[in-house]
Amino acid sequence: MKRLILTLCGVLSSGILLGGCPRSEKATVSSPQASALFADVTQSAGISFHHENGAKEKKFYFPETTPAGCALVDLNNDGWLDIVLIQSGSLDKPDAPENGRCALYLNEKNGKFQDVTAGSGLDVSLGYAHGITVGDIDNDGYSDLFITSFAGNRLFHNENGSGKFTDISAVWGVNQRHSTGYATSAAFGDYDNDGKLDLYVCYYCPWEKSKDKICNGADKVRDYCSPEVYPIDEHQLFHNEGGRFTDVSKAMGISSKKGRGLAVSFLDYDSDGWCDIFVANDLSGNFLWKNLKGKGFKDIATEAGCAFSTSGSLMAGMGIAISDYDHSGQESLFVTNFQNTPNALFKNSGAGFFDDVSTATQVGPLHLPYLSFGCAFIDYDADGWPDLLTANGHVQLGGKTLEAMKQPKQLLHSEGGKRFREVKENLGPLAISTVARGLVTGDFDNDGRLDVLFTNQNDAPQLLRNQDKSSNHWISFQTIGTKSNRNGYQARLRLTGAQGTRLESVRSATSFLSASDPRVYFGLGAERKVEKLEVLWPSGIRETLGPLEGDRRYVLTEGKGVTETLLPGK
């Protein structure tokens, strides 16, 4: 009988490289808050938000698996990062007045935030919102908000940093739907270098409540569906005409391909001066939209080597992080993936293609126990080598409860850009399991160390203050475009110092559904000052600055060099 069974298993087995998605060991080491790498200051900072995705109704609506994101950005130009938290709500009545009300918190510069949502203009039903991206669409000096939502995307104009926002979705033409699908992540970037921010919007799949599929897990217990039961959707690219966005998806080639888009980032991967667009797709090949000098886009992800994971496997591409993690002078791509499949690190060769170094650097094998969404390169100890942080949490119950979807975060320490090591000690709140989705980074208390904000499904967010005690030095830069877009998105900053030369760009969106502080941060290790900073603005203006003292934040204005220098705490 045994032999018969083995015959069956031999025939049935899906092969050695295929398999299910187990839940495995977790990094559960916790430490007292005081000695932990990060401290959870959510409550003490005055953040009382609680996310809801409607899952408690146990209807297993497919879009419940993905939301929601957040933003950690300076919305009133006071030099301190503010917070926007995206709310989803219920899909049964997405347009109900109380559904999906996001939250706006302004930084009070003393470790606390004030909830100023009421009367801000954001205190309206957003109809099951998902993600957010931030950019100054009219170059008036204040960053505006674009929020993706099941009921329709919304564009909010920032009224001079007053804490008030006006819904300009219809006026700017971003409220049309091209399918019954829903948008997830979005990003601002200037693809034609005209100084105005354009907009890319990822769509996941067409979905209607009335056509929701009923799926069971392999053991016949009701569960969330795999996305493959729904069609794939087209994405949208909007061109900023000044006062209005025009949908140029078809004209620019974006609608030539479909993908289950979950994350998007602008980057100039081939350094030709035209920003390209990378999109992480779930169970469809990632896109690398090569910018044809502002005249169109062509997906070259397969040719460039970043469309698929190991040996051509589809990724469940969820989140994106970008950095010159190995000081090669090129920005590489990190993409999060499903549990039991490796996260991918695509190293930019500088010759127009990427090498999958997920195993060699260990970011792939170390990730296997987790299902990751948001992610960030974060040099949390300022040693000069960007580390990796992921927000984890499952999308299916697997016959268990919602509780079982929770997973701890994962922090990987960069060992000189060659390999990554999982940090297992002093994790503090990182070791607490949640169903995390969004992840953003930024120095909210301006102390020179990068902090983190996570969003968690059906839970409170986690604002984590970095408690690194090392004496490492740092330097950061805020960009203000004059000829280029006001945010200075896509400005390339090449820093030269004792650790060699490294490159980072200013961008509006990475991670998943979220917007991090766009200021560029470099850890300096023992280095107190840097020799030189070269700034290449999207307009083509090139500036060389330095030497520059470390442990300072510099405001760089296009064509004017350093226009402000700020010490920690300012």
Partner: protein
């Protein structure tokens, strides 16, 4: 690169008599001289000659005379298992379980038949019953391991395999099952140990070398690991030069070492050996690109894309047929694609469903006929091994 455990044979065709002989002793002790005993013995004689049909008739007549005979239902159940009559086997073992659930192997037989009928969930249930009665029932443990993996209960699958491994630490079939599961779950540490043991037990087991190399490639990736992996793969190829999986992994390894032309050589051979594996042209396209052979890279990439799209399509229609079991087109399409890929069991499941839904549809009939031909060919090849 997908590769599966070598096909096994189990009491097929002429070997029915062996099982029947074993039962003869038991039967003669339990049945006094009677018409039932005579029929049992007749059936036994038929079985010894490989005349399964006549044996069945004799035992069925005996079961009419003594419907509560556990021996008869067990004999019938085994006969049906041996002759691949899964539905009948299931009914025979169900009867046996009704009459005497504590009969050794009653639940095991039921689990095997149920599994062969494509119902992994019920097979799991019956195998668990068998294990409850005999925690060391290796056959049932194997079904539990397989079915729990199918059901997404990966933790249970791994735990069961570990239990099996402790019972039979050097059993090559158990080791091979572990390799399948541990590699699927990327349990590289355990996989490495299993591969090491398998190499000890079977020094010519090429799969074990291939897997050990995979562990080094996928979990370490350091220059030293790549050197050790290369040694294993080269050794596997010395044993079996046509082992496509080793060629493929060697190609990948050379890609990691930036040895583009070496990689191309191995991957081109792997492609010849496994023309329907999408990962081979994927890696080949990379190797060609790095070697500056852009035209060839484009061809390999196009080949990869065709296979990738086909796999995507298979995933979509499989999900569709799962959601809509009465969807003829979905069942047929899954059956056709899996038939083309050589996954005969899956093809059989879906083509049977399609034929049941539309018995006279020419496409379903044609695909089903092709399936039967392929199964026969595979069985013959397996028997000749």
């Amino acid at each position: 690169m997908r590769f599966t455990i070598k096909q096994k044979r189990w009491l097929a065709g002429g070997s029915i008599g062996v099982a029947m002989l074993l039962w003869g002793v038991v039967i003669s002790k339990q049945l006094a001289s009677s018409p039932v005993q005579q029929l049992v013995e007749q059936g036994q004689a038929f079985a010894l000659r490989g005349e399964a049909g006549h044996a069945e008739q004799a035992w069925l007549r005996a079961s009419q005379l003594d419907p509560k005979s556990t021996i008869l239902w067990q004999l019938l159940g085994d006969l049906y298992l041996n002759t691949s009559q899964w539905d009948k086997a299931k009914k025979a073992f169900q009867k046996l379980v009704e009459i005497a659930p504590e009969t050794p192997h009653a639940y095991t037989g039921l689990a095997v038949a149920t599994l062969r009928l494509g119902d992994e969930v019920d097979a799991y249930k019956w195998a668990k019953e068998a294990v409850k009665r005999n925690p060391k029932d290796a056959s049932s443990l194997q079904i539990v391991a397989f079915a729990s993996g199918y059901m997404g209960r990966t933790e249970e699958q791994l735990a069961t395999l570990r239990q099996l491994l402790s019972l039979q630490p050097r059993d090559t079939e158990v080791l091979e099952m572990c390799i399948e599961a541990f590699s699927g779950q990327k349990k590289f540490d355990e996989l490495r140990k299993v591969a090491d043991t398998l190499i000890e037990v079977q020094p010519t087991n090429t799969m074990a070398y291939g897997v050990r190399a995979l562990v080094l490639l996928e979990s370490d990736g350091s220059p030293e690991a790549l050197t050790a992996a290369e040694k294993d793969l080269v050794h596997a190829l010395q044993i079996a030069p046509l082992y496509g999986y080793a060629r493929f992994q060697l190609g990948r390894l050379y890609l990691r070492q930036s040895r583009w032309n070496d990689a191309i050589l191995q991957l081109e051979q792997a492609q010849k050996l496994s023309p329907r594996q999408m990962d081979v042209p994927f890696e080949l396209a990379t190797a060609y690109t790095r070697a500056g052979k852009l035209d060839k890279a484009a061809i390999a990439r196009a080949r990869f894309q065709v296979l990738r799209d086909e796999t995507n399509r298979l995933n979509v229609v499989t999900k569709k047929s799962s959601l809509e079991p009465d969807n003829f087109e979905a069942n047929l399409e899954v059956g056709e694609i899996t038939l083309k890929n050589g996954d005969l069991r899956k093809a059989g499941y879906f083509l049977m469903a399609a034929v049941k839904l539309k018995p006279s549809d020419p496409r379903a009939k044609k695909a089903y006929a092709e399936l039967v031909t392929k199964i026969k060919a595979r069985t013959q090849a397996s028997q000749s091994q």
